[in-house]
Amino acid sequence: MALLEIDGLSVRFGGVAAVADVSLAIAAGEIHGIIGPNGAGKTSVINAITGMTVPQSGSIRFADREIAGVAPHIISSFGLGRTFQHVELFGDRSVFDNILTGFYRHQSYGLLAGALRLPKALKSERTTREQARMLIEAFDLAAFADSPAGLLPFGIQKRVDIARALAAEPRLLLLDEPVSGMSEAEAEAAVATMRKLAREHGITLVVIEHNMRVLMNLAERVTVLYQGRLLASGAPAEMQANAAVIEAYLGDAA
């Protein structure tokens, strides 16, 4: 049974079809790559899945629930998280605060409890801080914990973005170009961390990339988008050998 099932998805902006009739299914526990050249519709697919754009037609089912057109914060609360291509950190807050904010939906104390620091709120804050520290360690961010996130180099901001998304404990995490702006070494380390996360926490990963090489080492299956349409889907090695894919995508790089 697929955890995320997209059927006949179409997204249009005015007359432009950003995504046209795309269907794909992602199984629980899978690491799935979505790849395509610029303008292929990768980010539009992510935005539709996370509720940030409303698709014109098609269905998106997550954990047996229809989520097409549902408000983003509700979709997120179903356990579907995302990171951003151009990171969207809370720039003047510290890295630690950014990650704490990620725990919002797992904290349940009310405004009054927070305003008066009632035991319920204090307990929740204590455990949340502890969990945030663990994420900081896991992502090797201890040296930057107190720095304003917006002042950090892009590669480190990317790591903060992923750590913050994980704080919300998603079942499925959509990573929009997670290694762009990273050095070769950083990217390799990040790929290793992602693989480890998926395994240890049982998180399903959907990784958007335009760089095939990154996905070769990470994804179990790859979906290739081209001009808003689904071009091919299969194991990374198959995709690299697929004539249509080479023609449309790898072709112009070679």
């Binding site: 996370t50 509720g51 940030m52 408000a71 983003p72 914060h73 997120s76 609360s77 998280g81 995302r82 951003f84 969207e88 950190l89 809370f90 720039g91 003047d92 807050r93 605060d97 704490l100 904010t101 990620g102 725990f103 919002y104 939906r105 904290q107 104390y109 405004l111 927070g114 305003a115 008066l116 620091r117 709120a121 929740s124 804050e125 949340t128 090797d140 040296a143 930057f144 107190d146 720095s147 950090l152 180099p153 590669g155 480190i156 913050r164 998304a165 704080a167 919300a168 050095s183 070494a185 950083e186 380390a189």
Partner: protein
């Protein structure tokens, strides 16, 4: 940390002892400053943290003031019930404004809050049987458990204790999950939504919370001044509230306190230069905006960095793992 806590307690003790040393006029000024501190702390949560502009802060102050006063005068309620009643009604109306306002931003938000301000002004003026209309309303001194605070020193202490309480609450909210959600909504609504933060509801909470603070301050103001009338709660007052937090430092509670105290005291200090007072006030305002973009608190932070002028070890090297 312990030293800092002791300094805070020492400062509080000294402030509490103020009635022993100054005349009642300066006590009155101090009370006005404290009312403004409460205003600034609340508005900073809405504007500084949550990033929502409001031109009707004075309205909520007015709503709190009139509700508290009317509960005391008409219903004969004791102050310790009338004051929370004013806060509650103000918070409720804050939520009512927040409901349409939560989907707006920028100029539209400014306009809808301006409309609310006009509306509240008209309601107060058009109900003279209750509010005294443009002639205003005389408000009795507050009472605690039937004991009227006729002494100026006791009134000061009453306001002082409640102000400290309001600051603590503001500080707690800012450090709670709600404070973090406010900041998230201001800095990136997209990221906030992706983390499951209900952006529209969070904005509504911020509006309502700010209205509660402003209503509370209004209730105290009515008691302190002993008289309220509609012009007190007009657009100029709203603008003045915004200057408190901009001069003090957006998003900062020490900044709110500094801004409110300084700008309440400034006209007094400038009394010596008489008609040029307003000019100097304006120049100080403009100067802050031009040279201290992060307010007085930004200046303090900059001075601290200058003092510890060694290159920071925390500065990350580019590409560091």
């Amino acid at each position: 940390m312990r030293v800092r806590l002791m300094l805070i307690f020492l400062g509080l003790a000294l402030l509490a002892a103020l009635p022993l040393v100054v005349t009642s006029y300066y006590l009155y000024l101090a009370e006005l400053a404290m009312v403004n501190v409460i205003i600034a702390v609340g508005l900073n949560l809405l504007s500084g943290n949550c990033g929502q502009i409001s031109l009707c802060n004075a309205s909520f102050m007015g709503i709190g003031a009139y509700c508290t006063a009317l509960c005391t005068i008409r219903l004969g309620l004791p102050t310790l019930i009338a004051l929370p009643a004013g806060v509650f009604i103000s918070a409720l109306l804050g939520a009512a404004l927040g409901y349409p306002a939560r989907r707006l931003s920028g100029l539209y938000l400014a306009l809808i809050t301006l409309g609310f301000l006009e509306l509240v002004g008209i309601v107060i003026e058009e109900l003279p049987d209750y509010t005294g209309g443009i002639r205003g309303l005389k408000v009795p001194r507050p009472d605690i458990f039937g004991f009227s605070l006729q002494s100026n020193g006791l009134l000061y202490l009453f306001v002082f204790v409640l102000t400290v309480g309001a600051i603590v609450i503001g500080y707690n909210v800012q450090r709670s999950r709600f404070g973090r959600a406010f900041d998230a909504v201001r800095q990136s609504p997209f990221a906030a939504q992706a983390l499951g933060i209900p952006v529209a509801r969070v904005k509504m909470i911020a509006f309502s919370l700010n209205a509660a603070f402003a209503g509370f301050a209004g209730g105290l103001l009515a008691s302190v001044v002993g008289f309220i009338d509609p012009p007190e709660f007009g657009i100029l007052t709203s603008i003045q509230h915004i200057t408190f937090i901009v001069v003090g430092g957006l998003g900062s509670i020490p900044g709110s306190i500094a801004g409110a105290v300084l700008l309440t005291a400034l006209p007094e200090v400038l009394r010596g230069v008489q008609e040029y007072g307003e000019v100097v006030y304006g120049i100080i305002l403009l100067g802050t905006l031009l040279f201290l973009p992060r307010g007085l608190i930004g200046l303090v932070a900059r001075l601290q960095t200058l003092r510890s002028a060694k290159p920071s070890a925390k500065e990350p090297a580019y590409g560091a793992p």
